[in-house]
């Protein structure tokens, strides 16, 4: 009887309609989640552009009168035009109805993006223009501006659109490179900047600047990107190893205290043939199939000289805890004067101890925090930067 009931259930068209409805619902949810995520990335990218340009205007105005510099900035791929408006002088708005309407609607703003229904306008510190308003058409999400110091104000002019692949793109510029920690992102396996730019934005905004203490120290970092995806002699030795000479030649097009090489890899390939991310010198080679927090783990190695806080049976037996500030013997005397820390067994080798049970240096899949001791180590190192 029950078998018959089951048979009739599966032959009932309502069953297939329900299945189809569930499938469609999941599809709609999936698409909307992806759309929302890409919208968030674009919003973050636009905010980065406004912050970076604002800082660049300030930096340039502090230079001697008449000094000129070209700046290349990244923008969301969908931005078609950027218009700058000097509100302190007369503007010819008759030629641009969209800008004219936006200007009256957002009275405080002086930088406008097209399509305006998709991207909200922003406010920069005062600047001057040769032609008011100055509207620049955008191609491939990049804008090159020439900034000229006129004493206490900076003049913006459009730079010739001769952008080369090796050019340095300011993703988030917070000030003079001499006083900032400069990170440059380079890609391997990418075909075009439209594909690479959102990935870099994601690493910067949803990972790097979302993690303490970088979150509260965010103005101490500059982020750059180079859209040249030519071969950098990266080897697969079970881990990623890119030739430092080749990487340095490319990275030196940007200010680069630290270099992030993003190796594009899909999760399916990585499941079949796992590949480790790696860190040495000032280079972090990241497998993009891994969790984004691997960036913070590798940054802990290269910036703060932190050791791995997990244990692995195959770990290097000659590991010396004295070379690293976050591993100690069972006394934990290196940090036991700090409040809120512990003494947990296992720090690279099971014979050493760590201050935090779960942290980014222990397992970045289970914790998105460095822990008190590591935070302090970072803050101490960041003190040398303004």
């Amino acid at each position: 009887m029950s078998k018959k009931r089951a048979q009739s259930f599966f032959t009932n068209p309502i069953f297939y309609i329900i299945i189809l409805a569930i499938f469609l619902l999941l599809l709609i949810i999936g698409v909307s989640v992806i759309k929302k995520a890409s919208h968030t990335t674009a919003k973050a990218e636009l905010t980065s552009f406004i912050i970076s340009l604002d800082k660049a205007l300030k930096k340039q105005s502090s230079h001697s009168y008449g000094s000129k510099d070209d700046f290349l900035f990244g923008l969301p791929n969908d931005v078609k035009e950027v218009c700058f408006l000097d509100r302190s002088s007369d503007a010819d708005l008759f030629s641009n109805n969209e800008l004219s309407a936006d200007m009256q609607l957002y009275v405080e703003d002086n930088v406008f993006f097209s399509p305006s229904e998709k991207f909200s306008s922003g406010r920069l510190q005062s600047f001057t223009l040769e032609q008011n308003p100055l509207c620049i058409e955008i191609t491939e999400g990049k804008i090159k501006l020439n900034l000229e110091s006129l004493g206490n104000i900076t003049k913006i002019t459009a730079s010739p659109n001769d952008i080369r692949e090796r050019d340095c793109i300011s993703v988030l510029f917070n000030g003079d490179s001499e006083n900032k920690v400069d990170l440059v992102f380079i890609g391997q396996g990418y075909k075009e900047s439209l594909e690479f730019a959102p990935v870099v934005e994601d690493y910067i905004h949803t990972t790097f600047l979302a993690t303490e203490p970088m979150k509260s120290q965010n103005t101490k970092f500059n982020f750059f990107r180079i859209d040249d995806f030519s071969d950098m002699n990266c080897r697969n030795d079970g881990f990623i190893y890119c030739n430092e000479y080749t990487v340095n030649q490319l990275a030196s097009n940007c200010p680069h205290d630290y270099i992030v090489v993003l190796l594009k890899r899909n999760k399916a390939t990585d499941l079949i043939s796992p590949l480790r991310s790696s860190a040495y010198s000032n280079i972090m080679n990241l497998n993009t199939a891994d969790d984004n927090l691997v960036l913070m783990h590798e940054f802990g190695h290269v910036f703060a000289n932190l050791a791995d806080e997990y244990t692995d049976d195959s770990y290097y037996a000659g590991f010396n805890e004295e070379e690293y500030p976050n591993c100690d013997d069972e006394s934990c005397r290196e940090w036991n004067f700090l409040e809120g820390v512990g003494c947990f067994k296992g720090c690279s080798l099971s014979s050493f101890y760590r201050a935090t049970d779960k942290s980014i240096m222990n397992n970045y899949l289970r914790s998105s925090e460095y822990g008190i001791l590591n935070n302090n180590i970072f803050l101490e190192k960041l003190e040398v930067y303004g």
Binding site: E244, N248, R276, S278, N282
Partner: protein
């Protein structure tokens, strides 16, 4: 003759503009480390940026750039990257990894380049000189560009003057 003076004036301005030196040049060095020995493999001079090395360990090696007048132009501390950290997540949500210790590796340094640089020295932590690289007086990219543009302009001037002379000669003959 007034036209001639104008022409000479513009040419002189053009030469001066073309001789303006480009932005900061850097030198990217490629070294080989083998059990304590450091040898230079390759080098390139190009416009660009170099890292500030504010957090470099003072216990490691030191690289010094020396001018033709034996002045220190630049110096920085560095460590040979003999440790590679490798990390990956497993399907069980664990992190697996290792440290790879090397006694032989290739490494690279990026430093500012100076037109009057004569020598680069690498000194170990005991102040022993490990390597000395004599930089032959090769022209830097800025100098090369300036020289090429100067020769080009000189050629251009010769052609213009020949044309003017030819024109004058022709009109005189008429």
């Amino acid at each position: 003759m007034g036209d001639m003076k104008k022409l000479i004036f513009y040419i002189v301005i053009f030469i001066l503009v073309s001789l303006v030196v480009n932005g900061q040049n850097i030198i990217v060095l490629d070294f080989e480390y083998d059990n304590g020995d450091i040898t230079l493999k390759d080098k390139i001079i190009k416009p660009g940026h170099f890292p500030d090395r504010k957090l470099a360990s003072r216990e490691g090696y030191k690289i010094v750039e020396i001018s033709d007048k034996y002045e220190v132009l630049y110096s920085a501390n560095f460590e040979v990257p003999l440790t590679i950290f490798t990390d990956a997540t497993t399907e069980y949500g664990e992190i697996k990894g290792n440290i790879i210790k090397l006694n032989k590796t290739e490494f690279s340094l990026v430093m500012p380049y100076f037109d009057n640089i004569k020598e680069i020295k690498i000194i170990d932590k005991n102040q022993n000189e490990l390597t000395s690289i004599n930089l032959s007086p090769k022209l830097s990219p800025s100098k090369t560009t300036a020289l090429i543009s100067s020769l080009f302009i000189l050629g251009l001037i010769c052609i213009i003057f020949s044309l003017l002379y030819f024109k004058k000669f022709k009109s005189k003959n008429k």
